[in-house]
């Protein structure tokens, strides 16, 4: 495992802060990455005071989140914290609501017809679903990378990178060249494309396209990046490239990645959340913990079966 700036001792969830504190806007959110549903937690003996100083602060806190497509509940009662500037992986069998969950964080879920939700998603303590938060603004802070690379086909590489700035209205003309170079470098693509910035975005290989999409997401200067199986359409080498890139971005961005690839989750992530599906096909969080713990010594039998390949 790589070195961590913080000691780990997050085996159990810590209770959510009391109700009134929700209104206080930028106060430090609770320092709780490992919030599995309370019912699944072991006896919380002495946890609250156990380790606040040793756990990274939660950038995102999800409370009692339910997500629906029409009458169908796709995600049930999820509560968890996502650590700031760390990589959190979400794993689980197909159809258990991982993508749905991920898309609820930047309010892409509501773009689906008949989709609805209840519960809270707190970003730095602010509920992103509260009426004063605008979904368009929110998405500038919470970027997204999709499963299939989706560069804009009518735009050049250069224009793809700055699309969010230009179309979102945040562009200052003079800076664009600098932004393009900085983001393409950060995405590890600069050397490959610096001589053909005017070529079409779709003229690149799949792996390059995906890194272009990451550069595009970085250009609007987000704080959180959501990735939905970002490497599943790529070959092993390109996959490794994306993983390296994620590790480089770690520390500056809070990254949440959905993946079907256990090795990938164990290679890149600091925390892992395991989702499963109930009788009613609603996905729920089985447990969340330090990645090392999930893959070596999970608390739940279900998790152990899944990560060892016995189920799912």
């Amino acid at each position: 495992m790589r070195e961590d700036p913080v000691e780990m001792s997050v085996a159990a969830p810590v209770a959510a802060p009391p109700e009134p504190q929700r209104e206080a806007l930028p106060t430090a959110p609770s320092t709780v990455p490992g919030g599995a549903p309370l019912s699944l937690a072991p006896p919380a003996a002495g946890i609250p005071g156990a380790a606040p100083a040793t756990v990274p602060a939660a950038k995102i806190e999800i409370r009692d989140l339910n997500l629906y497509y029409g009458p169908f509940r796709a995600v049930r009662d999820v509560s968890m914290g996502i650590a700031a500037n760390q990589i959190t992986a979400i794993i689980g069998p197909s159809g258990c609501g991982k993508s749905t969950f991920l898309r609820s964080i930047n309010r892409m879920h509501e773009l689906t017809r008949h989709a609805s939700m209840d519960g809270q998603v707190l970003l730095d303590g602010v509920d992103v679903y509260s009426p004063e938060v605008d979904a368009v603004d929110l998405r500038r802070f919470v970027g997204m990378v999709f499963q299939r690379p989706n560069p804009f086909p009518t735009m050049s590489i250069y224009d793809n990178v700055v699309a969010g700035l230009r179309l979102g209205g945040g562009a200052r003309k003079a800076d664009l060249d600098e932004v393009v170079e900085r983001c393409l470098r950060a995405a590890g693509l600069w050397d490959e494309v610096k001589d053909k910035l005017r070529a079409g975005g779709t003229s690149l290989s799949g792996g390059q396209q995906q890194r272009l999409c990451i550069a595009r997401a970085l250009a609007v200067d987000p704080e959180v990046i959501l990735m939905d199986e970002p490497a599943s359409a790529l070959d092993p080498v390109a996959t490794l490239r994306i993983e390296e890139l994620m590790l480089e971005l770690r520390g500056r961005f809070t990254i949440v990645i959905v993946t079907h690839n256990m090795q990938q989750a164990s290679r890149v992530s600091d925390f892992t959340a395991f989702f499963s599906m109930g009788e009613d096909r609603a996905g729920y969080l089985v447990e969340m913990d330090r990645t090392a713990r999930i893959f070596t010594n999970p608390r739940e039998k279900l998790t152990e079966d899944y990560v060892s390949g016995r189920f799912g």
Binding site: G143, A163, T202
Partner: protein
């Protein structure tokens, strides 16, 4: 199925060979023949029309036809006023119809609820099927009667009414083909949805939208009926006089073909060829242009 399939206890080799039974081969051949005949039935009339227009029109399509206006009486003039009229009226109609049709297509595809979308789609389909002479009468009542004056503007409006549903339907359909991931990719960057539609979705569907516009223009250029009660037709060259009657190639053909004078009949063939070339020319040039630009 066709052909005698051997019983289950036959060897696989026997059963495989039985597939090419003579009977199945015969049915196959007959089916192909029918399909070919049907295809010819479609293509032959088209080819015949093209052949006649070219054969009869080529002789009459000369510089005089293009550059001289009709004489006030008798023969010997050209069709200058007609093709100028067609270009102007179709041009204005396109200017009116393109924004309306594209906006309506965007609305139905991107923003309208299920019910509204269905209603608009239905209305558009009905409009496409309405006989164009009815559109002519409608515009006649609306824009000719009140002014007691046949006018080219009314002609353009009538043509625009005919083009709008064509553009609307095509726009809507091609926007529907733009992958959802592209829209979401843009929205996920914090781009507002109207901007996503205009700057990401519409450009991606550009070639298809242009095709819709082309279909509309070609349709408008070939219409006669809606112009009969609106632009009326004229023997005078009219440039920019949208308050007065104006001629069109189709009206020229209509009048020339009905005339007892053989020279005018010939000129009508020439005008028909000209119309054909005009529509074809627009089509090809737009298609060539839309193939350029950033490659998808």
């Amino acid at each position: 199925m066709i052909g005698a399939v051997p019983a289950r206890d036959a060897t696989l080799a026997e059963r495989l060979r039985a597939g090419r039974s003579p009977r199945r081969r015969a049915v196959d051949r007959a089916g192909r023949g029918l399909a070919l005949a049907a295809t010819l039935a479609c293509v032959v009339p088209l080819a015949a029309v093209l052949f006649f227009v070219v054969a009869k029109g080529a002789g009459a399509l000369n510089l005089d036809l293009l550059t001289k206006p009709a004489k006030a009486l008798g023969t010997g003039g050209g069709a200058l006023q007609s093709w100028l009229g067609t270009v102007q009226m179709v041009g204005l109609a396109t200017l009116i119809a393109v924004p309306v049709g594209i906006a309506a297509g965007i609305y139905v595809s991107e923003f309208a609820g299920h019910r509204a979308a269905r209603a608009i789609r239905f209305a558009s389909d009905v409009m496409v099927g309405v006989p164009s002479i009815l559109v002519g009468i409608f515009v006649y009542v609306l824009l000719v009667l009140p002014f007691r004056q046949f006018n080219a503007f009314a002609g353009s409006v009538a043509l625009a009414v005919i083009i709008v549903p064509v553009i609307q339907r095509t726009t809507e359909e091609v926007l529907g083909l733009v992958p959802r991931e592209l829209r979401e990719g843009s929205l996920a960057l914090g781009v507002p949805s109207w901007r996503t539609t205009l700057s990401v979705v519409l450009p991606t569907a550009r070639a298809g939208v242009l095709t819709g516009v082309m279909l509309g223009v070609a349709r408008a250029a070939g219409e006669t009926a809606p112009l009969l009660f609106t632009a009326l037709g004229s023997r005078l060259v009219n440039i920019g006089g949208f308050g007065e009657p104006m001629d069109s190639l189709t009206l020229f053909i209509y009048n020339g073909a009905r005339s007892p004078i053989a020279a005018l009949n010939d000129q009508a063939w020439g005008a028909a060829l000209l119309l054909l070339l005009l529509v074809l020319g627009i089509n090809v040039s737009v298609r060539l242009r839309s193939m350029g630009g950033v490659r998808a």
